[in-house]
């Protein structure tokens, strides 16, 4: 391994001039990234950037669609790799190329399989040898272009199609099961029904609507995505948010985690018709959401995080109220969870159902609680601390087994540890202001921000043009890494156990579809 083959190291929540990002011919980039991934690297993001066309540059008014997000001309590929054990990130890029093909990274490392499909879909560049090249979220007419589904042959095989319209009030997605009787042989998940074109809308930004779009990239991860976006802008401006704003963001992030994990434990109980926990958690989730409302006036944390700081402060008076209410709600959650763990009938449903083995989870690059339930120790708050998490951390919640029970257990561990984190942090606020005026973004720079949202790693990468506007903005929601995990979990499981598996992951459709 010679020095020329090294990706450029970069810390979470920092930026690097575009010119300093090392570049290789595309085939070499694939090799270099594959090497990095075998050295315990994890692929955070992999995307294409259109090269500005020669001649008069397109102004943003003429077509934001062509400025870096999609196109036909020459492109570069950009890779963001995380070395969790070394607490560093690394970036690299290819030289511009306009060939229609390049050797697929997926063949060397499976983590890239969806990323390469996405690049192919957006730029028409084919990763040669990709085993399952089909659209990710492109629409054809009024629905996503799903393409052909994987089919299992056999007289006893039957196909079950579920969605995109579901019986509950949930997001749209299509699930295609290949079953032998009650047993699922293969599940293929087709998404894209919520594709809103967020990345395309960001080109040439930030625009007036950008902040609102970030907060709703995946509505239940408002704080996660908003914090990642604000962090990207702050690192491009060469600064960071005031300490007290970082503290507020950390508190809001854990409140979001508490509400979502509690809601999911209740939903899991509901799916196996275990009423006590199901009824209680629905209410307690609301209580936690109301704590977010106490902090910023919105139950989902909208309007709190802004580039340069936060818009609402937590005065000592309200902090006291929040602590008191937090104690009550945590005690309620403890009771509801105890009912769940103590019921033998529930354990019988959760144990050994939907196992994702550690090797599988690592091979496809799973993140967040789902990965930690398979015994993988990866948590952005711990591995790549930024913001307030440099000063205060909660222990990483890990469970082994990889089944529904493990995923539920990790959720419960995180509820307890987030609760403890909040108790300690709310009681010891830092002094100072909560928002600074932000300097203009540095031109021609690449900024990376990772945030551990409640589902896992939220990754935002921004590349600015000569004027400091976004030339390319790439969002990777944790769901993008984890949907494949759900498909793997269903192998050889009873089709009637799909709902509890799905709920134990509870992935975002709109975060994936963008």
């Amino acid at each position: 391994m010679n020095a020329a083959d090294n990706l450029a190291p970069i810390a979470n929540a920092t930026s690097i001039p575009w010119a300093e990002v090392p570049e290789w011919p595309v085939a070499d980039l694939v090799r270099v990234v594959a090497d990095a991934l075998t050295r315990n690297g994890r692929l955070c993001s992999w995307f294409g950037v259109a090269e500005p066309t020669a001649g008069p540059a397109l102004s943003h008014a003429e077509g934001p669609a062509l400025s870096g997000v999609e196109g036909e001309g020459a492109i570069r590929l950009v890779a963001v790799v995380a070395f969790d054990a070394e607490n560093t990130l690394a970036v690299g890029r290819s030289l511009p190329f306009s060939e229609e093909k390049y050797p697929a990274l997926t063949l060397l490392n499976h983590q890239a399989h969806l990323f390469e499909r996405e690049v192919w879909e957006q730029f028409g560049v084919e990763p040669e040898g990709h085993p399952w090249l089909k659209p990710v979220r492109r629409t054809a007419g009024n629905a996503p272009a799903n393409g052909e589904f994987f089919r299992v042959d056999g007289g006893e095989i039957h196909e079950v199609a579920v969605g995109p319209v579901h019986a509950g009030v949930i997001e749209p997605g299509h699930f295609r099961f290949q079953c032998a009787g009650e047993e699922v042989i293969h599940l293929e998940i087709a998404l894209g029904y919520q594709h809103r074109g967020i990345e395309r809308a960001l080109a040439g930004g930030p625009h007036r609507a950008t902040m609102a779009q970030m907060e709703t990239a995946s509505g239940d991860t408002t704080i996660g995505h908003a914090t990642a976006y604000a962090t990207v802008l702050e690192s491009l401006a060469g600064t960071e948010a005031p300490l007290r704003a970082q503290w507020l963001r950390a508190i809001a992030l854990e409140l979001e985690r508490l509400a979502c994990h509690t809601g999911d434990l209740g939903a899991l109980a509901g799916d196996v018709a275990f009423l006590p926990t199901s009824s209680a958690c629905g209410k307690i989730r609301g209580d936690f959401l109301n704590l977010s409302a106490l902090l910023c006036g919105n139950r989902f944390g909208r309007g709190l995080v802004r580039p340069g700081g936060c818009r609402h402060d937590l005065e000592p008076e309200r902090a006291k109220t929040m602590l008191a209410r937090l104690e009550t709600h945590l005690a309620d959650a403890e009771q509801a969870a105890t009912w769940l763990w103590d019921a033998a009938s529930v354990r019988a449903r959760f144990e050994n159902v939907g196992c994702v083995y550690p090797q599988q989870a690592a091979a496809i690059g799973m993140v967040g609680p789902a990965a930690r339930a398979s015994g993988l120790v990866r948590d952005v708050r711990y591995d790549h601390p930024a913001g307030w998490h440099r000063f205060a951390q909660a222990p990483v919640a890990v469970w082994s087994g990889g089944d529904v029970l493990a995923r539920a257990r990790v959720r419960w561990l995180e509820i307890q540890r987030s609760g403890q984190f909040l108790r300690e942090q709310i009681a010891t606020p830092p002094e100072g202001g909560i928002r600074d005026e932000l300097a203009p973004a540095a031109p021609d720079s690449l900024a990376v921000a990772l945030v551990e949202g409640w589902r896992g790693e939220v990754c935002h990468v921004a590349l600015t043009d000569a004027a400091g506007r976004f030339r390319r903005y790439k969002i990777t929601d944790p769901s993008f890494h984890n949907w494949t995990g759900l498909a793997l979990a269903l192998r050889n499981q009873a089709i009637s156990d799909f709902p509890i598996n799905n709920k134990s992951f509870n992935l975002s459709y709109c975060g994936f579809d963008l």
Partner: protein, 303 residues
Amino acid sequence: MLITILYGILRLALWLLLAPLLPGIVNKVKAWVAGRRGPPVLQLYYDLARLWRKGVVLSTLASPGFLAGPAVGWVAIVGAALLLPLGPAGSVLGFRGDVLLLIYLLALARFCTVWAALETGSAFEGMGSVREVSYAVLTEAAILAAVLSLCVHNRGLALAEILAPSAGAGATLLAAGLFTVLLAENCRVPFDDPNTHLELTMIHEAMILDHSGPPLAAILHGASVKLLLFSVLLVQAVLPIGAFAPLAGIGVLVGGVLVTTVGVGLVESLLARFAFKQVPFLLTLAFLLCLFALLVAWKGGAA
């Protein structure tokens, strides 16, 4: 003669009008345990009235069987209910061997539901039908064993003869076995979840996904009659209602049905539903309980 016919109509009206009360009570119990207020006890009546006024959406693929299924099924269940004696009031249509007709009417109702479900050709309804029929194999065995034990114990083939006296020493076994069968036959937790919206986990609900309007009302009403039928059967099979004075006997019957209904609600409140692969074990257990009741009746020195 006229009096008999009028009496029969009165009994029929009683069955039809009282049945929808039971699911309401179950839901109230569940809500009470969960600390909610819950839907009104009369909710099913409102639902039935609403569905009756609605139109029907018909698949272009479905044959008339799609509509005939719920109709025949409803008639079969109501017919079975009319066969049942009501404690001291006796039965209206009773005859020697009517117990066999009861079992066959219930089987006919199931056949019709499955038939109508398969008409649509939907994957969900196919799965629901398969599950329903597979589990029915075991529940019907349990019902047969239970009925046989009553026949042997009370030396009769008419429902009025075998249900009025006590079930004897095997009563506890029969109570446990028949209660399990009641839960399974009426799609209650831990076998099925009547509240779920998840098609992949449904049994009975999956079979009626494509029904709407009056046919759906017939299915829902038929299901409530079936729950009442099984409760009445369970109470009479287990308690020696014939030993009470007529008024007290009616009181015991009504009280017994209420206790059973509340019991269903409590099971539903406190137990998670089973995985499908566990269901056959529980149903086999129910069958064995009824079988041992039969052995007790046979060898245990019947009257």
